[in-house]
């Protein structure tokens, strides 16, 4: 069965690029969210296999969104990969490494994104 991936990024362009890159390389069902709140709504409703979550977002950032996802029994088992433009170790962001699969540092290449996801998740 085809995987479902939710991409969360407040930057429209970044969202479009990641979506298009995965579209070209996979047959996954791709969902989009432009904010943390939207991400919570969509994931509660659709329960995707993976959430690609941007760290730097206004209002509710990646860290807060992650905490909310993990607090909800419906979404707490969904795999999460963080995306960040900041080169800082995870420990400095205050995120519990146990709660995320890995961190992708931007700029990543959209065409290799699918392979990287397959590698870390063993898909």
């Amino acid at each position: 069965m085809s995987k479902t991936v939710l991409i969360v990024d407040d930057e429209e362009d970044a969202l479009a690029i990641a979506t298009l890159g995965l579209q070209m390389k996979t047959d996954w069902v791709l969902l989009q969210a432009g904010s943390g709140q939207q991400a919570l709504d969509v994931s509660a409703e659709k329960v995707p296999d993976l959430i690609l979550l941007d760290m730097m977002m206004p209002d509710m950032d990646g860290k807060a969104t992650l905490a909310a996802l993990k607090a909800n029994p419906k979404t707490q088992s969904i795999a999460v990969i963080l995306m960040t433009a900041k080169q800082e170790p995870l420990t400095q962001t205050g995120v519990d490494p146990e709660q995320v699969v890995t961190v992708f540092t931007k700029p990543f290449r959209p065409l290799s994104l699918a392979d990287e996801i397959r590698t870390v998740l063993g898909w």
Binding site: E11, I17, M24, A85, P107, R109, L111
Partner: protein
């Protein structure tokens, strides 16, 4: 009524100077004689005139006082026994007047007089002579008191000069002291010999966090004030060459172990015969922090659009969004190459800033240098093949406790540089040897074009390639060696280059194994 004093003056001027005194150039002291007996006056006048003293004689105390006030003599001979006003009273009045009070008064008494010696001294007399005069005694007493008076005057003049000097100095000292104490710039005076602190101002104590007692008489080495003493040493050596040292950037370690970035200006001064260094410091830590923060924010803000840009170019290049002409594909590849270079540049700037600000701590793990060499060569093999350069490795198996990713980054960087500047067919040698004190000495030896001697040090600074066009031609960022040096510094190691132009370069890395 004729003024007796004027008559005495005429008397004085009438008396011709004796031949022997003419030869003496300096006119001797001015003596006022007050005596109601004309014979005495005449006798003393003649006597003193012969010795070339200037003599004024008066017969009345009142006239004497007036004359003394009008033109203070150097000495007064005063008869005690006079009608109207006796010698004691005259003396009291003389002593009461500001302009005559310091003139020595010698009393004259007749043999039969009852001389009240105590009173004579009490009213201010310095001595007395008795009639009939023993000429030599009179002269000796006069000489003595004139000498005393002269010495006294000299002493007073000297005291005045000293007081003036002291007040000048005190004023200069106050000016210096106030500027030194109030100076917003930290100032310290150290000996040139061993950099021992002789004086520090409050700003300096604020900067370093030390109390005065904890600094004075200690050396900079005692306090470990300069984490890199060699840099301070090189600033000092500029002084030795006669040039002053201005605004040398240094790290300064405070009492709490914090590091402050300072600009230091040095001037050589001599204090109490000892060569000293005047250190004037400017704390630029905050300025540097703002600069670093700015770089960090700008770099971060650059990455977001770059991310979208390079992604968009990637997607275009698949051809899945529409077939591109051959030229179109070529142009797209130009855009991708440059976008990638921009990303490398921003990444390197960020990396360097993070290393510089000490934000990145070493993530030490146990690994073996042999494995690190193997990984480096694996990573660089493709680039070497493309450049037709052969890689030789002489590895030794040495376990190390270092930040393996950072050392790998360093080795990759050095190898990448070596490949870039090698000619096709060239060979690059990567060696490691364990030296005393557990120092691993790594060498990257190439046969490339070499580095001019005057650039061997500057290439480790930001954007200081040997040739300014290198970055563009070779695809580097101009930050690689600066990053390497920071990484080695964090490992308490060092990195430097040796080179012979046209024959190749050797990059040396000294890395403590833990």
């Amino acid at each position: 009524m004729p003024d007796p004093s004027s008559s005495s003056f005429s008397l004085m001027s009438a008396s011709a100077p004796s031949p022997q005194t003419v030869q003496k150039k300096a006119v001797r002291a001015d003596i006022l004689v007050i005596d109601d007996t004309p014979e005495n006056l005449h006798l003393l006048s003649t006597l003193l005139n012969e010795r070339n003293y200037k003599v004024r004689s008066v017969t009345k105390g009142v006239t004497g006082i007036r004359g003394a006030i009008a033109a203070p003599p150097d000495l007064i001979l005063l008869d005690i026994n006079m009608p109207e006003m006796n010698g004691y009273e005259v003396c009291e009045q003389l002593k009461a007047n500001e302009s005559t009070c310091d003139i020595p008064v010698i009393f004259i008494s007749a043999l039969g007089d009852v001389l009240d010696k105590v009173r004579a001294f009490n009213v201010g007399g310095v001595d007395f002579i008795t009639k009939p005069f023993q000429i030599e005694e009179v002269l000796a007493r006069i000489r003595t008191h004139l000498t005393l008076r002269r010495l006294q005057l000299e002493q007073q003049a000297q005291n005045l000069r000293l007081q003036q000097e002291i007040s000048d100095r005190r004023r200069a000292e106050e000016t210096f002291e106030k500027s030194f104490l109030a100076s917003p710039s930290p100032i310290a005076i150290t000996t040139l010999r061993d950099y021992r602190f002789l004086a520090v101002n409050p700003s300096f104590m604020r900067l370093t966090g030390y109390a005065k007692a904890a600094i004075l008489d200690r050396t900079t080495a005692d306090l470990k004030l300069w984490p890199e003493p060699a840099l301070y040493q090189s600033a000092i050596s500029q002084l030795a060459q006669g040039t002053r040292c201005e605004s040398q950037e240094l790290e300064c370690r405070t009492q709490k172990g914090e590091y402050r970035t300072v600009l230091i200006s040095l001037e050589r001064i001599t204090l109490h015969g000892e060569s000293c260094v005047l250190n004037i410091i400017n704390d630029i830590t905050e300025r540097k922090r703002i600069e670093n923060e700015f770089i960090s924010v700008v770099s971060h803000e650059l990455r977001t659009p770059m991310h979208s840009m390079v992604g968009a170019l990637d997607l275009l290049s698949t051809g899945e969004l529409g077939e591109l002409s051959e030229q179109g594909a070529q142009i797209l590849s130009v855009a991708t190459t440059n976008a990638e270079r921009l990303i490398r540049l921003v990444n390197d700037i960020l990396d360097l800033e993070r290393l510089k600000s000490g934000e990145t701590r070493l993530n030490r793990t146990h690994c073996n240098i042999e494995d690190l060499f193997a990984q480096t060569v694996d990573a660089m093999r493709a680039m070497a093949d493309e450049a037709d350069v052969t890689l030789h490795v002489q590895a030794v198996s040495v376990p190390v406790f270092v930040d393996c990713d950072r050392i790998l980054q360093t080795l990759t960087n050095l190898l990448s540089n070596a490949i870039k500047f090698s000619l096709p067919g060239g060979t690059i040698l990567l060696t490691a040897a364990l030296e005393p004190d557990d120092i691993l000495h790594i060498r990257v030896i190439d046969q490339g074009r070499g580095i001019p001697p005057d650039r061997l040090e500057s290439i480790f600074e930001r954007f200081q390639q040997v040739d300014a066009s290198d970055a563009r031609k070779k695809g580097g960022t101009g930050l690689g060696l600066a990053i390497c040096r920071k990484i080695l510094k964090q490992h308490n190691g060092s990195i430097w280059a040796e080179s012979a132009v046209g024959e190749g370069s050797t990059f040396h890395v000294r890395l403590p194994v833990e």
